[in-house]
């Protein structure tokens, strides 16, 4: 993490840059405008090089859209972004952070996330049926207690 990367809350005007980054790494963008206020961004020289966002579902929070531009990986940017998202989750009263990943289960396991069944995750962050259909068979559902949470 170099000093010239700044972590900031996203504004509506960042929509284009956020969509471009997420599209570039193959993550969904359809509802990004709806959730844009829940995004935190990493900027370098004005360019968005990383994103992370939360969705609040009661006392469970879905960590989503965690992405770092390939050119900026390996610098710990994602950790800083996720810490910021987690701080937002604490403010929202979250007890658990959930996430779905098809590519980075090991990465998140190192960071304290544990694999949970789809049913557990679905019960917490969405109706089980919908969650089943959204969470692909090969995706890993993971959970971690929120640091500094009530929980």
């Amino acid at each position: 993490m170099t000093a010239d990367v700044r972590i900031e809350r996203a504004e509506v005007d960042d929509l284009g840059a956020v969509v471009e980054l997420l599209r570039g790494v193959g993550l969904p963008v359809d509802d990004v405008a709806y959730h844009i206020e829940a995004f935190v961004l990493a900027r370098e020289d004005g360019q968005v090089v990383g994103t992370s966002a939360i969705e609040v579902h009661g006392d469970a929070v879905l960590l989503r859209s965690v992405a770092v531009a390939p050119s900026h990986r390996g610098r710990g940017i994602a950790d800083v972004l996720m810490a910021e998202s987690e701080a937002m989750a604490v403010i929202e009263g979250a007890r658990h952070l959930y996430l779905l990943t098809t590519t980075a289960a090991d990465y998140f396991a190192v960071r304290g996330f544990e694999i949970v069944t789809r049913e557990v995750a679905g019960a917490a962050i969405g109706e089980a049926m919908q969650f089943r259909s959204l969470c692909p068979a090969s995706a890993t559902c993971m959970r971690r207690a929120v640091a500094g949470g009530i929980g």
């Binding site: 963008v29 359809d30 990986r73 996430l99």
Partner: protein
């Protein structure tokens, strides 16, 4: 109706529409209700990995980035990828100017419309056309969140565009034309609504050469943005037939065998058998064409006024909500 893609196919445009609408409608409902798409989280490199998400190349280019890396492709539902990704980044390529009128065919969640609206500015206008109520509802929610005022989402079919002739400067679309059962109608309608000098600037999946019949007929693949894809030369020919000039197809990404495996998963086909058959045949491409005639000064009011005359109702943002927690 001549089905331009399926030799001997028995599928009608209506049955295709029904299937496509059902699939995409369901996706949009899930997004609107749960506030979440297939949100595979990503991150920096896992140990020993060059990157867990997207391209593993050192420099990242949104146009040529590997849109579905191997891990993603194995899991993310095709419809989610398609709804959110399509096969390109049309707004980045369409070269939009302030004051222009833009139309997105198959606008889905409306992201490209919102981005286009920002580029054309307050003197311009961005329309999104979609046939699924659920997607239109999500799009209108996105519009409200983004605070966009020069945006309008229309309900209708891309084979029969609910806009007057000669009213649009630029038509964009992200991997939707291939889903239509009547491509000629889509292109002819695009030609009709464009102003003289107007631009067709569409991302789509295009095929080079022949595709196995089983793949062509597979409806899952159709919705997965492959089976409906036009053959490259056929696409060029159709564009010229309906009147376009300056036609070009620029590959932005050639799909490899592992992508094919992702497309084919869940299709019931033998992946090993077909992946090799279609390796390198499919490409994400940027399709350009121009309607002959001089480009006039953009007149944003024209389309809106003509719309009122036609009595085409703009879709109201039916605020779809979800569980008790999502709207707090």
């Amino acid at each position: 109706m001549r089905d331009v893609t399926t030799a001997g196919g028995d599928s009608t445009i209506d049955s295709l529409r029904t299937t496509v609408r059902a699939r995409y409608g369901a996706v949009a409902t899930r997004v609107a209700e749960s506030g979440s798409t297939a949100g595979a989280s990503c991150c920096g490199p896992a140990s020993g990995s060059s990157g867990c998400c997207g391209s593993s190349t050192e420099s990242w280019d949104p146009i040529t980035a590997n849109l579905y890396d191997e891990g993603q492709a194995a899991g993310v539902p095709a419809e989610a990828l398609l709804a959110s990704l399509g096969c390109g980044n049309p707004t980045a390529l369409a070269d939009l100017q302030p004051g222009e009128v833009v139309l997105d065919l198959g606008s889905g969640g409306g992201i490209d419309v919102l981005l286009s609206a920002k580029r054309v500015g307050p003197t311009g206008k961005a329309y999104g056309l979609d046939m699924t109520d659920e997607m239109l509802a999500l799009a209108n929610e996105n519009k409200a969140r983004a605070g966009a005022t020069n945006v309008e989402f229309l309900r209708g079919h891309i084979e029969s565009i609910p806009l007057p002739s000669n009213t649009v400067d630029v038509i964009i679309s992200n991997c939707v034309v291939n889903l239509s059962g009547d491509k000629r109608a889509v292109l002819a309608e695009s030609f009709r609504v464009l102003k003289p000098g107007g631009r067709f600037a569409v991302s789509d999946v295009v095929v080079r050469g022949a595709v196995p019949a089983e793949v062509q007929r597979n409806m899952e693949l159709w919705v997965g943005c492959v089976a409906g894809a036009l053959e490259e030369q056929e696409f060029i020919g159709l564009l010229r037939e309906v009147g376009f000039e300056g036609v070009s197809i620029e590959p932005t990404r050639i799909y490899k065998a592992e992508d094919a495996a992702a497309f084919l998963s869940g299709s019931g086909l033998d992946i090993a058998q077909f992946a090799a058959d279609i390796d390198g045949r499919f490409m994400g491409a940027f399709v350009r064409a121009t309607k002959p005639g001089a480009a006039g000064a953009p007149r944003v009011a024209t389309a809106a006024r003509a719309l009122e005359t036609l009595g085409t109702p703009a879709v109201d943002g039916a605020a779809a909500c979800c569980g008790p927690d999502c709207c707090s």
